[in-house]
Symmetry: C2
Subunit: 203 residues, 2 copies
């Protein structure tokens, strides 16, 4: 049994995340996957079933990372929107790291890549984004009850607006643009979102 199941599997998945995040599903060939995972085709197919199966697992790993990153940022702030602003700021640091496979979000890249003949993958992506929206909506509803948000704010609408902000920030960051300008954009997004908070945004 040359393969120590759990450890090597997770290590391979991490490599798959990095490759798919950088190149997308269609942009990553099996030859590149073999090289990135240091596995031969037979092993890959025995372990993950198909390129599709590997990608779905990689997307899950990536989504898990995202959720964890958001949860950490929320935990270090006294208010919910403060946590969101924390997240936007820490995000700019993460995506501009020199070893980041891409600045844009892997889930959004997949959302824009999938065609109608990949309905299952499209459904998976939609579920992931819906889950983020739902989670964020719940957090905002608590904040709303604590009086952190303006009284007439619709929490689900605000959750979607925040998700759109993250998509916009990270997509624009994919342009040939300086790190400093991305940080500035994040601050401007925070300023704009201040329209929905009770207290004025601090800088």
């Amino acid at each position: 049994m040359p393969r120590i199941a759990k450890y090597d599997r997770d290590k391979a998945l991490e490599s798959a995340v990095n490759l798919f995040w950088e190149r997308g599903y269609g942009g990553a060939s099996m030859k590149q996957i073999e090289q990135a995972l240091d596995m031969r085709p037979g092993s890959i197919y025995a372990t993950f079933g198909s390129k599709d199966g590997l990608f779905r697992e990689a997307l899950d790993v990536y989504a898990g990372r995202m959720s964890r990153s958001l949860a950490e940022a929320m935990a270090t702030a006294p208010s919910t929107m403060g946590g969101v602003f924390n997240y936007l700021r820490s995000l700019t640091g993460e995506i501009t790291a020199p070893d980041s496979p891409a600045r844009a979000c892997m889930v959004v890249k997949t959302l824009l890549e999938v065609t109608e003949d990949q309905q299952e993958l499209r459904a998976l992506v939609n579920e992931r984004l819906q889950a983020v929206e739902d989670h964020l909506t719940g957090l905002l509803e608590q904040a709303h009850q604590r009086g952190e948000l303006k009284a007439d704010v619709d929490c689900r609408r605000l959750a979607r607006l925040i998700q759109a902000q993250i998509m916009g920030l990270r997509s624009l960051a994919q342009r040939d643009i300086a790190v400093e300008d991305i940080k500035i954009l994040a601050e401007d997004i925070i300023t704009a979102l201040g329209a929905f908070t009770q207290d004025p945004v601090s800088h």
Copy 2:
């Protein structure tokens, strides 16, 4: 000479835009292109040089459409930011039309699709997005001089923020989401951008 040059060339390009916009560069095969343009490979290569050449021309056509659409929206508003809000509202109508190849922007889809071994295409996309930013910056500077924006607003920063809003709106619209919710998101984006205007946003 069975091909009436100009007319058929433009018609073919329109078809190419629709196919590439929907499926992306890598997602559109030559077989699908042949079918969409109703041309055989030899004619396509004689006319456009390569798949890459065809895509670049299609991207130009699309970018031209975008610019025209923005200019029209700006023309029907008394103020610059009012024109931007007009554009965001008309955009939701355009991208939710049943015959729209995709809701997300073709330029952004390309931006997120291209890898580092496609530097020329990446450069072309960056140029197009930079041109939009520059154009918007110029318009906002006029508005700033007319006192339409808050005194401390940086017009280039605001232009980038607006571009990020468009990217975010159209990317989120690519989700499995109702048309009405996209319109609501556009209104919330307009509200958020109100943080930078002198006069309060009207609804």
